[in-house]
Amino acid sequence: MENLFKKWKVTIPKYDKRFRSTIFDVFSKKFGGSEKTKVSLGKHFSNNYELYMYAFFLGLYNDEYIEIPEEAELVDFSHAIQFWGNKSKSERKDFSNLQEYMFMAVVAKTDFDMVSLEKGKITVVSVVKKLRTTMESYTNGGLNILERQIEENKGLVLQPTFFLDMILDSKIKDLEIEELEEEIEEDFQEMEDLND
C-alpha cells in the first residue's frame, strides 16, 4: 500500500516573494530562540512555517483560493512539512499532528484522478504537485487577507487576540455543517443497500 501523505509531507511549499518583507519578516522570528525573545521582538510567530500554516488555514476557512501569479517569484524557507510542529522548544507543545489535517484539507480540496494514479497512468509526483498548488493557493489567499487586515487595522495588530480573531471570523463558521452530514448519511445508506 502506498502512502500519499508520506509523499506529500516531504515537500516544501512556496510563497510569493512579495509577502516576505510585508508579512514574514514583520511577524515571524526566523531563527529559533526562546519564546520570550519572540514576544519581546513583537513577533507573534516563532518562525516562518508557523506563519505559513496560519495563512493556509486562514485562506482555507475563508475559501480564499488565489493561485500565485505565474510571474511571481517564489520563495520557501527550506523546511519540509514533515518537520512542522515537532517539539523543539521546552516552552512549546508538539503540534505535528496538524500536518495530517492539512493533508486532509488539501486532498479534500484538490481534484485529481485517483484511479489513474492507482492504475499508474499518472505519476504520484504530479498528484503531489497538484496538492501543493492547492496548499500554496490557499496560503496565498490567506496572505492576501492578512495583508488587507493589517492595512485596515494597523493599531489592532498588537492585540493578543488579533490573529485568533481573524480565524474565528472566517466565512466557514456560517456554513451548515448539517448539510454535509446529511450527504454522508446518504452515502452510507447507499453502501448498506449495495451490500444486502
Partner: protein
Amino acid sequence: MIIEEIEIKNYQCYFGSKVFKFSKGLNIILGKNGDGKTKFYEAIDWLFSDGIEDKESLFSSKAAFNMSNGDSEKVMVRMTVAQDGEKRTIRKHFLVTKENDELDFGNTKLEGIEETSSGERSLVDGSRLRDLIFDSRIRQYSMFKGESELNVFDNKDALNNLIDLFSETKHLDIYVDCVSEMYNKADRAVTADAKKNKSNEKKYSILEAEINKLKIDESQLKLQISNIQKELTKLEENIDQASSLVDNAEKLETYNKRISKREDKIRDLRARIAALESYTTNLYDENWFLVFFEPIYNEFKKKAISFSKDRRRLMAEYNQEIGRKKGEEEAKKKIMESIPLPIGTPSQAHMEEMLDEELCKVCNRPAEKDSEAYQYMYQRLQEFIESQKVTKTEDDDDKPKKLFQYNYTTKLTAISDIHEQYLHGIRQIDIDIKDTFDFVENRKKDLEEQEKELSNEYEERSKIVSSSSVEASSLTNILKNYNGFQKNKAENKDDLVRYEFDLKIIRQNLNTKQGEKDALDNIQVDKFLLNTKEILGDILKVTEQTRSKEFNDFIDKLEAISNEIFKKTNKGSFTGLIKFYKIPYGDEIKLDIRLVESSGKKFEGNSAQVTLLHISVLLAISELVKEADDQSYPMIMDAPVSNFDEMHSKLFFEAMKSSVDQSILLLKDYVIRNESTDQLEIKKEFDEIKKDKAFWIRLDEPYENELLHTIDTQIIEL
C-alpha cells in the same frame, strides 16, 4: 522698686525735655512704629550701659539745628525710682556746645541722687546706685526689646544666673566648698594619726591603697555615667524632634508594605494573564486551528469513501470482465449483480465457521446444507481459497493484468477512520476557546480591582507625605534615624544601668573598706580627731543636701508659679501645664521648659501659647525676685500681643497687672489712621484695657522723615 519718672532730653527723636510720669501697675505706651517707642527703650538701655558711644548720633537733630554759636545743650536720660523708702535718681548726661559752627561734645557723666523721705538729698556714686536700683542680672529678666527675646532660657547660663540671683544655691556653694575642705583635712588628720600605730601599719596601708583605688574607680565611673547622661539627653532631644514626624513615618511604612504586597500581586496577575493570552500560540499548541475543521474533514471523508467506492467498483467490473473471458464455468460462478463485498470480509475462518454451523452470520439466517444460502457461502469460500492461490501455474499469456498497480486509497480511508474518533476533540475546541476567554476576562477584572486598590493606596501615601513638612525620602530617613536613636538610647541605657550597678558595688566596697578603716581608726586614733571628722562629715552632708534642696525648691516654685499665671492668661482655652524638666548634663543640670497635656505628654503649642509660656515664666521669675529680694522690679517690654486674639490680649494685660507691681508696656496695635480725617487715632478697644496709665508718643506733625530736625516726639498722657 517702682519707676516714678523717666526723663529723656535731647536724645535722638526726643527734642527738649520729655518726661514720663509712671504710676504703679500697668502703664501702656502707645505709638506707631517709628514714632519713638524703640528709642524710649534704647534710652533706658543707654542709661544702664557704659561704653563708647556716638554722641553726635544720639543728640537730637532738632536741638542741634536750633543751636547758635555759644549755645549749649544737655543730652540726658534720667530715671527716678522709689525704692527702700527713698527716692533715688540716676542720670546720665553729656553737654553739647556749639562754637564756631561746630558742635563739641563733653564727657558723659553718671550721677546718682538719693533723697530720703524727709527730703534730704545726697549725691552718690552713680554706678553703685544704678546697680542698686536695677541690677543688670535682674534687668535680664525684666527688660525685653522684642518678642523674640522672651525665651529667656534659650541662653544656657540663664538658669544659672537665675539660681544665683534668687536662691541660696550658689551661696551655699561657699559652705559646701569650705566644709569639704575641712572634712578632708580632718580625714587626713585621722589617717595620719592612725599610721602612727605601727602594729597595724601594714594592714592600714593596704586599706588606704585599696580605698584610694576605689575612689579613683568611683570617680572614673562617675565620669562615664555623666557622659552617658549627656548622650542620653541629646538622644532624647533628637527623638523628640523626630517623634512628631515618626507618626507619619510609621504610617508611611505601613503603606509602603501594603503597596509592595499589592504590586507583587498585580505583577503576578499580569504574568498569568499574559501566559493565558498567548492566543496565537494556542492555535498551534492547542490545535485551535481545528475549530472549524469538521466540515473539511467531512469533505475529505467523503472523498476517501468515494475513492474507495470507485476502486471497488472498478475492481468488480474488471473482475467481471476477466470472469467473462474465462468462460462459462467462471460465469457459472454466482456473480452477484450487486457489488460484492471486498475480498476478505468475512474472513476465511468466519466462512468456515458459518458453514459448519449452517448459519449465515452476516444476515443471521439459517443456512442449512444444500440451501441456497449455504451454497452461496460455500462457493464464496472456494472462490476465496482459489484467489489465495498464487496462480503461478497459469499461462503467461493468460495471466490477467492487475487493474491497479498502486493502492493509495486504503491509507486514505484509514486516515479518515482514525480521525473519525478525533472529531469529538475538535468539537471541544470551541468550548475551550470560550473558557479561556472567560477565564482571562475574570483575571482581568481581578487585575482592575487590584489596580484600583493600589491607586487608592498611592493616594493615601502621598497624603501622609504631603501632610508632613518633609519629603517621603526624608521621612524614610527620619524613620531610620529614629530607629537608630531609639536603639542608641536603649544601648546607652543598658550601659548606664551597668555602670550604675558597678558604681553601687564600688561604693559598697568603699563603704566596707571605709568601715574597716574607721574601725581601725576607732581603736587607735585619738578620739578628738575622730569626733571632729564625724561632725564635719555630718555638716558636709547637711550643707550638700541643703544646697540641693534649695535648687529643687526653687525650680518647683518657679514651675508652680508659672502654671498659676499661665492658667490665668490661658483661661478658657488649652488646658495644659508648664513643666520644668531637670536634665542631668554631666555635672550640671539643664532646664527644659515644655508644654504638656494633662496626660503628661509633651506637645509643641502654637506661637501664642509659646509666647504665653515664656511670659508666664518671666512673671513667675519676677514674683520670685520679689520674694527673694524683698522687692519687685518693673517689667519693661514690647507687648507681644500681635499673635493674640482679643480675649487673650485682655487676659494678658490682666495678668501683667496682677503679677507685677509695675509694668511698662509698649504697644503699636491700637494706633490707626482715620481715612477720612487723615488723622491718627486710638482705637476704641483700647479703652477696654484696665490700665493705670497710658501714653501716646507720636511725632510732632508736620514733620518730614528726611529732615531730622523736624522730628520731635510728643508725649501725650491719656
